[in-house]
């Protein structure tokens, strides 16, 4: 610090040397200016320097500026920086003001500047700085004497002030030992000596001053005024703030080494200044924040505080200009507090309201409810955008922090605060009755809790309940998270914004799915008809939709609804881009390179780690359910022709791959486990299959994993029996039920039930003999020509179906023409209906989605489709 100031001072004299050569040519050499300070020169100095090179007018301008300012700031400030002497203040001010001759004024200014520096240093007990400044002051005064000018009363005053503060500092030092460091203490003693010496030197003056300060000053004035001729240059202030900063008390050192003072009166000017600087290239954002923080400290009225807070929060977020990086966490935390503060002020004072659109008002004027027409002060700004921004930044920071470090966990802890802020703003908007932002804020809140386990939500809610200002929708005493989510969602369903409704719906479904309410979730999803319109939604909503569907699949799996789970998960696994579709990772495309923009956009979409759905678990669930569906099916078909009708392509591919393996070691990955289990199941070794499946480690991540494993074991038994029957039926003519029951450890009743089901559905051509309790198989071997004729019939059927489909597409409205055609009779009609339904089903479930996807890619997403297809 001291070094900086010394440079400032030195270069000051340097600039003088250039501008006022004619006046003080000799002094320059004496002081030996250090030109090295040039590059580091501050703004203040630059103005001086500049003006010296261009015109001397600006100099005088500067002076007049300072004069003005002194006037404007009044006595209050003065008394601040010179505490010891009070009564003389005004006079000394006058004094300074009258100085007109530029060189003389400059010197005086310099003296005052160092005086101020000393004063500041005094406040922080920095005696090293004081000492150096004092030296400088002495030098200047000597110079003053050299040019035969009287000693300014300012100097004397400083001297006396210094003496008293010195004494008090020494006294303090004695009391509080070890408080000062060595260099400081040394400087203190040195100062003591110096002051003593100087006081002796100016003994007369001091005495004169002490006895009658006023007279001393008036004498001085009289002396000066004889030489002075008042300058009349009164230009418009360049920038109000600048001048203020120059002479104010120095709470902050601006870029230019200028002192800035912040007072309640100056707030608006400062604010305006900051706002003007906002977005400009060279603005130092940190600096701006600091200014605003100071402003906030001095702000007195609510209006001022609101204004400063509004500026401050946006300034904090401005601090980070790049899209990818996140706002530093400390800034974020500060912003969060400030938003809280802002909300509290608004909530307490309903006479103030922050609106995005207001009538124009004078930025510089103080306003209060009394001055406004209808008693409400409307201020331009938007709390909801702050909340949005905070939430976004929070997500962004989580995206950027390594999820495996402790930092991530620490950061996650901030969510509680954020959640509270969101709830608080919700309460605020509830109070104000503004529906639009309220909807947004409720959505934010919902998004924070929909995917979380109950315990976490309870903790968050507890934090909210502890706050003083709570929203109307809160966790009730029974701790029922579902009802909380429900009330939040029903609130959003009433909103006019369809995007909010959609997202709320998806969150609601997700929540139900997470809590194993598969049926409710499924019904809601189907009833919402979202699958028809989701293609036109924005990407974030589509991601949410994918997450919801996947969660639904998982919940079906947990509930033991294997088939549903398989069907639901199949679509997403069919694409082989699970991670990408769930926004949990960027997929490596094999055949094309992403442009940097695409990649950036994709990175921004990624979900923070704690929201991820574990893809490995997902895959395990999908593959296991595929196994349970697919293996019996594989066993049931015998001709190559039928083999192409696969249910799950991805599973089949893995199976084929595993089959080609020459050696199979003990299973390591989840896939290995499942593949080997599938083989075991095919061979009828259900126990081995069960063990392999249950050994998969990832199950531990699934809630209620024990019951899930149990369910799986049961399924494996059943499907094992089915597979066995399919596989070995050709080799038996009868099979005893009790043997089956023993082999698969199922009760006789279960075995009968399963076999009956197969017979009823005509999967197995057999019948039960109750007397002997055996299954009797009626197998007929087809001759080649019979087989072919059957295939032919199937193909013709397929042909007609294709035709119907084509016509459907052409006519747009599906099936309507056929329902008319159903006027015919009997079997034919029924068959048509049956077929048609089948056709629709497959189209609805698979064809539609696939076709739609292709089209979509073709439109919006360029050339990625080809690659994706090839992958598949």
């Amino acid at each position: 610090m001291s070094r900086f100031f010394r440079q400032a001072g030195d270069s000051d004299s340097d600039s003088e040397s250039s501008s006022e050569e004619e006046l003080m040519s000799s002094d320059d050499e004496g002081t030996k200016p250090t030109t090295t300070a040039k590059p580091a020169m501050s703004r203040f100095l630059r103005t001086a320097g500049d003006s010296s090179s261009s015109d001397s007018d600006s100099d005088s301008e500067d002076e007049s500026d300072s004069d003005d300012d002194d006037e404007a700031q009044g006595s209050k400030k003065k008394s601040r920086f010179i505490r010891t002497s009070d009564s003389e203040d005004d006079d000394s001010d006058e004094d300074v003001k009258r100085v007109v001759k530029s060189a003389q004024a400059k010197r005086l200014d310099e003296m005052e500047a160092s005086g101020k520096l000393m004063d500041n240093a005094l406040k922080i007990n920095d005696w090293v700085a004081i000492s150096s400044e004092f030296d400088k002051l002495i030098r200047m005064v000597q110079r003053q004497q050299n040019v035969a000018e009287p000693i300014p009363p300012f100097f004397i005053r400083t001297l006396t002030g210094l003496e008293t503060s010195l004494n008090s500092a020494l006294a303090k030092e004695k009391e509080a030992k070890k408080k000062m460091n060595a260099s400081n203490a040394r400087a203190l003693t040195a100062m003591k000596q110096k002051v003593k010496k100087v006081t002796k030197e100016y003994e007369n003056d001091v005495k004169q001053f002490q006895t009658d300060p006023e007279k001393f000053e008036s004498d001085y004035l009289a002396l000066v005024s004889t030489e002075a001729q008042p300058q009349k240059v009164k230009k418009v202030k360049k920038a109000a703030g600048d001048s203020e900063e120059e002479d104010d008390d120095f709470t902050t050192v601006g870029k230019g080494g200028k002192a800035m003072q912040f007072t309640a009166e100056g707030i608006y000017k400062n604010l305006q200044l900051v706002q003007e600087a906002r977005g400009k290239k060279n603005t130092d954002r940190t600096e701006q924040i600091r200014i605003l923080e100071k402003l906030l400290e001095v702000a007195v009225t609510n209006y001022q505080r609101i204004r400063v807070l509004l500026a401050l929060v946006s300034c904090r977020f401005d601090n980070n200009s790049s899209i990818s990086a996140h706002v530093p966490i400390d800034l974020w935390l500060a912003a969060q507090k400030e938003v809280d503060q802002l909300i509290a002020i608004i909530a307490e004072n309903p006479a103030y309201s922050i609106q995005e659109i207001t009538e124009d008002y004078d930025e510089l004027a103080e306003r209060s409810p009394e001055t406004e027409k209808d008693g409400i002060v409307r201020i331009r700004g938007s709390i909801i955008s702050f909340v949005d921004r905070m939430d976004d930044e929070f997500t962004k920071s989580l995206q950027n922090i390594d999820p495996h470090g402790t930092e991530y966990v620490d950061r996650l802890k901030d969510e509680k605060g954020l959640y509270c802020t969101i709830c608080r703003s919700q309460a605020l908007y509830e109070k104000l009755g503004q529906d639009e932002p309220l909807g947004r804020v409720v959505m934010r809140r919902l998004e924070h809790i929909y995917s979380k386990p109950d315990a976490v939500v309870s903790a968050l809610e507890a934090a909210v309940a502890a706050a003083d200002f709570t929203p109307s929708i809160a966790l009730d005493s029974s701790n029922d998270i579902t009802s909380l989510i429900h009330s939040l969602c029903t609130f959003l369903y009433r909103s006019h914004n369809s995007l909010l409704r959609t997202r709320a719906m998806l969150c609601h479904i997700y929540h139900y799915a997470l809590h194993n309410k598969f049926h409710t979730a499924r019904d809601m999803l189907l009833m919402s008809h979202l699958q028809e319109s989701i293609h036109s939604a924005d990407v974030a909503t589509q991601i949410l939709y994918n997450r919801t569907v996947v969660q639904l699949g998982l919940s079906a799996f947990r509930c033991g609804l294997i088939k549903e789970s398989q069907q639901t998960l199949q679509d997403i696994f069919g694409t082989q881009r699970v991670k990408e579709l769930l926004a949990q990772g960027v997929h490596q495309q094999r055949y094309q390179v992403l442009s940097p923009e695409q990649e950036k956009a994709e990175r921004q979409r990624q979900l923070p780690f704690h929201m991820h759905i574990n893809t490995e678990l997902l895959e395990a669930a999908f593959l296991v359910s595929s196994m349970l569906v697919e293996i019996p099916l594989l066993a049931s078909i015998d001709s190559e022709e039928q083999k192409r009708k696969t249910i799950s392509k991805s599973f089949r591919r893995l199976m084929d791959f595993a089959d080609r393996q020459v050696f199979t070691g003990p299973p390591e990955s989840t896939r290995d486990h499942i593949m080997q289990a599938s083989k075991a199941l095919q061979d009828g070794e259900w126990e081995k299959c069960r063990d392999l499946i249950q050994d998969i480690k990832i199950w531990s991540l699934m809630p209620e994993c024990a019951s899930v494993k149990e369910m799986l074991a049961k399924r494996i038994q059943e499907e094992g029996l089915r597979t066995y029957l399919f596989t070995y039926a050709p080799h038996y003519s009868t099979l005893s039920l009790s043997l089956l029951s023993r082999t698969f450890s199922l009760s006789l009743r279960q075995v009968t039930s399963i076999v009956s089901k197969m017979i009823w559905n005509e999967e197995l051509s057999a019948s039960l003999d109750q007397a002997a309790s055996v299954v009797v198989f009626h197998r007929i071997e087809l001759s080649r020509s019979q087989q072919l004729s059957q295939t032919l019939a199937d193909k013709v059927n397929a042909l007609v179906e294709q035709n119907e489909k084509a016509l459907d597409q052409k006519l747009g409205q599906a099936t309507s023409w056929q329902s008319r055609g159903e006027g015919g009779q009997g079997d034919k009609r029924e068959q048509t209906g049956e077929r048609r339904r089948g056709g629709e089903r497959s189209r609805g479930a698979r064809g539609g989605a696939r076709g739609g996807r292709g089209a979509r890619f073709a439109q919006g997403l360029g050339n990625q489709m080809s690659g994706a297809q090839r992958n598949r």
Binding site: R522, V539, N546, D571, R749, W760, K810, Q813, E830, Q831
Partner: protein
């Protein structure tokens, strides 16, 4: 059996007057304490203009207490209103009953109105008087009178909401007077009215809970739910009712309605399906395959609703657990017997359910012990044998099944279907379908005109077949 009683569930979907028979039924059966039922009846009657009935109920309920004086006042008020309304309505009625006028009236309502105004000076307000009087008559229990007036009103009125309301009122009156043919007719017109025009179909005038929802789709859902409930009266009393019930309830829109808003209707649907097992002849495929369809729905809605009747079907056709089915059947029997709508069909239900069991049983088994089958059917051995013989004689499997009395078994020998037969089956519909295709290609124009209508039908409910598909949105 109180747990399976649906009365409380369905009462909210009925008009006040329609609940009387339900409660009367409850007071006969001993499912609930008689006093409670009576209290409910009294509460119900209090809100109507049937003052005498309410008073008698009150006296039954609180024999030792004085009849509140408010009834007398209410009675007087009712009588005077009645007179006033009757006078108002009489004027119009006189005109309409004039044979000359009856001849002059045409299809076009606007024209009729014009005509009446010109010749007889009958205004719209006077016509509305018909409605008011009909409604009032309904409130004090003169249902046939109400039906009459509402009929006349509907012929003349152009007000859509009032017409709708009069539809409901007439249906209720017809149901309560027990004219099932007329009621069925009324039901069908009402159904058409609901299906054709989406909005404002709630029976505002005759119902207690008037949902003030503005969403037309929701309104339609409400109306359909109501219709489903009201139609139970008709369908379980009309001789052809069960088949018609299946026809109606299994149309996608009504099936969706059941699934969405009133899954308990599944009981009636399931029972109707079981009852109409034997009905052959001119029934449509929908009825003949109703059981399969219903089982599917039952499975899907299992988490929302199940009772012995639906469980019976589930055990029989999903789990093929005959023991469990048998247990559920005996439970279902009492449920059916106690149900207001189904009570009369108990024996028929049991009979048909047995047929279903034995049919499934025979199809799966090759050799069946008669004793075992009799057990499954809740019959003793002799009865069982008789029953089985009848079964074999009646059904198509007569040729395949033989009873071996020595071993006391039935042998069923069902030769597998020959290949040519399957090929024929598979290709049978093709020619027809191709024809239909050709026909459809010829009239794409007409098709397009139809489309708007098709789209109007709001899909308020689940499309059951669809599985949610994943969206490729991440990029």
């Amino acid at each position: 059996m109180a747990e399976y009683d649906l009365t409380q569930t369905i009462i909210p979907y009925y008009d006040r007057h329609l609940v009387f028979p339900l409660l009367a039924h409850l007071s006969e059966s001993d499912t609930f304490p008689v006093e409670q039922v009576q209290a409910a009846q009294y509460e119900l009657a209090k809100g109507t203009n049937m003052v005498d009935y309410a008073v008698s109920l009150f006296q039954q309920l609180y024999a030792d207490q004085e009849v509140p004086s408010e009834f007398a006042a209410k009675r007087e008020g009712a009588v005077s209103t009645n007179e006033r309304l009757q006078q108002e309505a009489q004027a119009v009625l006189d005109v309409i009953e004039n044979p000359e006028v009856a001849q002059a009236l045409r299809q076009d309502k606007m024209q009729n109105l014009q005509y009446l105004k010109e010749h007889y000076n009958v205004t719209l307000e006077q016509i509305n008087a018909l409605y008011n009087f009909g409604k009032f008559q309904y409130t004090y229990g003169n249902y046939s009178g109400a039906a009459d007036y509402l009929y006349h009103f509907r012929v003349l009125s152009t007000d859509a909401d009032l017409t709708m309301s009069s539809h409901w009122g007439k249906l209720a009156s017809d149901i309560l007077t027990g004219k099932w043919d007329v009621a069925l007719e009324e039901l069908n017109t009402l159904r058409e009215a609901i299906d054709s025009r989406a909005p404002s179909a709630l029976p505002g005038a005759f119902s207690s809970p008037s949902g003030s929802t503005s969403d037309p789709a929701l309104m339609q859902l409400h109306s359909r739910t109501w219709l489903l409930h009201w139609s139970l009266f008709v369908y379980f009393n009309h001789p052809e009712g069960r088949t018609l019930l299946l026809e109606t309830f299994l149309t996608p829109t009504y099936l969706n309605t059941i699934q969405t808003s009133c899954p308990w209707i599944l009981r009636y649907l399931a029972t109707a399906a079981i009852l109409s097992r034997k009905s052959t002849g001119t029934t449509s495929s929908r009825v003949r395959h109703s059981i399969r369809e219903i089982v599917r729905v039952i499975q899907m809605e299992e988490y929302q609703y199940q009772d012995p009747v639906t469980n019976f079907l589930k055990e029989l056709y999903v789990e093929f657990d005959f023991e469990a089915a048998q247990k559920d059947l005996s439970k279902a029997e009492t449920v059916v017997a106690n149900d207001f709508f189904l009570g009369e069909f108990r024996d028929e239900f049991l009979d048909n359910a047995r047929y279903l069991i034995s049919e499934a049983y025979c199809r799966i088994h090759q050799r069946i012990d008669i004793g075992d089958l009799s057990d499954r059917l809740n019959l003793d051995r002799d009865e069982g044998e008789k029953w089985i013989v009848n079964l074999i004689r009646e059904t198509r499997m007569g040729a395949d099944a033989k009873i071996d009395l020595e071993k006391n078994v039935i042998e069923i020998n069902r030769p597998p279907q020959p290949i040519y037969q399957t090929v024929i089956e598979k290709t049978r519909g093709l020619a027809f379908r191709t024809q239909a295709l050709g026909a459809a290609m010829v009239r794409p124009q007409q098709q397009q005109q139809q489309q708007p209508q098709q789209q109007q039908q709001p899909q308020a409910a689940i499309t059951t077949e669809a599985q949610p598909a994943v969206v490729e949105g991440a990029r």
